[in-house]
């Protein structure tokens, strides 16, 4: 199932489409979008640039295409997760916290096993990374320095990897500003954006695992403002 993107990205895509005179709808099956690889940032950026050029040449709105690609990758994860949940079961409502913890552990373990080859950048591909960083930078630019500082300071200074559990006991989940959430593409219920340091993470709440990470999501100029 595709999740409708939030208004911010759609509006941006529409504006961009008007500017380049391109159709808004694009498919990830387009040759212009096929074959992106993760784990090779330099080559990935070069590929992304080339694909953007081809997208323009094909009169495909690259912003809309990138959002589409993001949703496709999130959907792929969500389908895999649904299969795991089908076998393990959802988290139960109970007065016994031990039962919740045990089910969470089993769910996380099964998801890790099902995506043992998952790597950073599977969802935040180089093209999507560019877009996300742009959304975040744009939101932060509109804030007062004092508000930016408050946001940056609140982020826990921890380092995580794909499939890690989030250390809830030692690092509270930092609040994500609601206006920023309005700008970022929608996610299925239970999947959420969070920040650790200057890294944006995609966290699956029920199994409490990190699905993907985007380093340097907060621009360097704001980190020590």
């Amino acid at each position: 199932m595709r999740h409708a993107s939030s208004h911010g990205p759609i509006a941006a895509a529409l504006v961009f489409a008007v500017l380049i005179g391109a159709p808004v709808v694009a498919s990830t099956r387009s040759p212009a979008l096929a074959g992106e690889r993760h784990g090779q940032p330099r080559r990935g950026h070069a590929v992304a640039r080339a694909q953007l050029e081809r997208a323009k040449a094909d009169r495909v709105n690259p912003l809309a295409a990138t959002l589409m690609q993001f949703h496709d990758r999130v959907d792929a994860y969500w389908k895999l997760r649904a299969q795991v949940v089908g076998k393990i079961g959802t988290l139960p409502k109970t007065s016994d916290p031990a039962v919740i913890a045990e089910r969470q552990r089993a769910l996380a373990e099964a998801i890790r096993k099902a995506r043992a080859d998952a790597r950073q950048g599977d969802i935040f591909t180089p093209r999507i990374a560019v877009l996300m960083r742009r959304f975040i930078a744009s939101d932060l630019a509109r804030r007062r320095p004092v508000d930016r500082r408050a946001f940056v300071v609140e982020q826990p200074d921890i380092h995580l990897k794909v499939n890690d559990g989030y250390p809830l006991s030692s690092a509270p989940l930092a609040t994500v500003p609601p206006r920023l959430l309005k700008q970022l593409p929608d996610l299925p219920d239970g999947l959420e954006y969070r920040f650790v340091g200057s890294t944006l993470i995609l966290r699956d709440a029920d199994p409490n695992i990190v699905v993907d990470l985007l380093p340097d999501a907060i621009p360097a100029r704001y980190r020590n403002e």
Partner: protein, 287 residues
């Protein structure tokens, strides 16, 4: 254009009485009685002292449920933490059948929503009704567009005489550590105002504070039921009353068009009390 409320909160009366022994709220027949605590989950002595004082109050003024403003469990959330930081200090009230309705704070493990004694029904955000009141409980840690849309749907559908919202982060605060959550306020307050929410409770700041009514809404912060950020309240135009020298809890009752409250310190001193009155029934927004 933002609709104006018809018959919303039009009179707010407060009496500030500091430093004298607690005077119990009068027991009005048929009133809906409840308590408010916030940022309780330390498992340390002050939490137990506040819980004890709350239990004492309950013996004289039998409220039937308690609103929890988040940070219900600081740090680890092993099964024994649920015991130490919640089930044991509040055992007398739980045993007496008092129900707790929690919201999630920034220190909470979101799995707490599944813990049945918190009555969240597995949801990060939810509503419930008690007497003439409908409560709208939000997750202010992650106020995404879906939650905002949900809140608007729930508020617009509500026909409750009293609408009370609560969530962890305060829209207004004079606290020097955190202060007002302006980002949240920008998106949430228009909905509260449009659909006639009467009262908003929050926590997060480790003190008690009553804010001067804003846009016809009475705002309270009760985040000092275990942790304390001493001397954090700043002087300023927003503050109507506050306590940042000791821990506290609130008790309240709603009867007809009247909401009465008292704020009590850890040692049983009356900190603040007052009345919020509605003069008309309808809270239907006009466009």
């Amino acid at each position: 254009m933002r609709a104006r409320l018809v018959g919303a909160l039009i009179a707010v009366l407060f009496v500030l009485t500091l430093g004298r022994a607690s005077a119990m709220l009068p027991g009005l027949p048929g009133a809906t009685r409840f308590a408010i605590v916030g940022d309780t989950g330390t498992g340390e002595k002050p939490e137990y002292e506040v819980a004890h004082e709350l239990t004492e109050y309950h013996a004289q003024f039998p409220f039937t449920f308690v609103l929890m403003m988040g940070d219900n469990l600081y740090g680890s959330t092993r099964p024994r933490d649920y015991e130490k930081k919640f089930a044991i200090p509040f055992k007398p009230l739980l045993d007496a059948g008092v129900k707790f309705y929690a919201t999630l704070g920034n220190h909470d493990n979101p799995d707490e929503r599944l813990y049945t004694p918190f009555n969240m029904n597995g949801q990060r955000y939810y509503t419930f009704k008690q007497g003439p009141i409908e409560f709208f409980v939000c997750d202010s840690n992650y106020m995404d567009p879906k939650q905002l849309a949900w809140l608007e749907r729930q508020l617009s559908a509500s026909r409750a005489r009293w609408k009370i919202a609560y969530f962890h982060h305060p829209l207004y605060s004079t606290g020097s550590t955190h202060g007002s959550q302006t980002d949240l306020r920008e998106l949430v307050e228009p909905l509260l105002e449009k659909y006639g929410v009467n009262i908003v409770f929050s926590g997060h700041e480790h003190f008690y504070e009553r804010i001067k009514p804003q846009h016809g809404i009475a705002y309270f912060i009760e985040g000092g039921s275990a942790k304390l950020r001493e001397g954090d309240i700043q002087n300023g135009g927003l503050r109507a009353a506050g306590l940042d020298r000791d821990r506290s809890f609130m008790v309240a009752q709603v009867s007809g068009n009247t909401f009465q409250f008292e704020t009590i310190s850890r040692t049983g001193q009356l900190v603040d009390k007052g009345i919020v009155e509605k003069k008309k029934e309808s809270t239907t927004p006009t466009r």
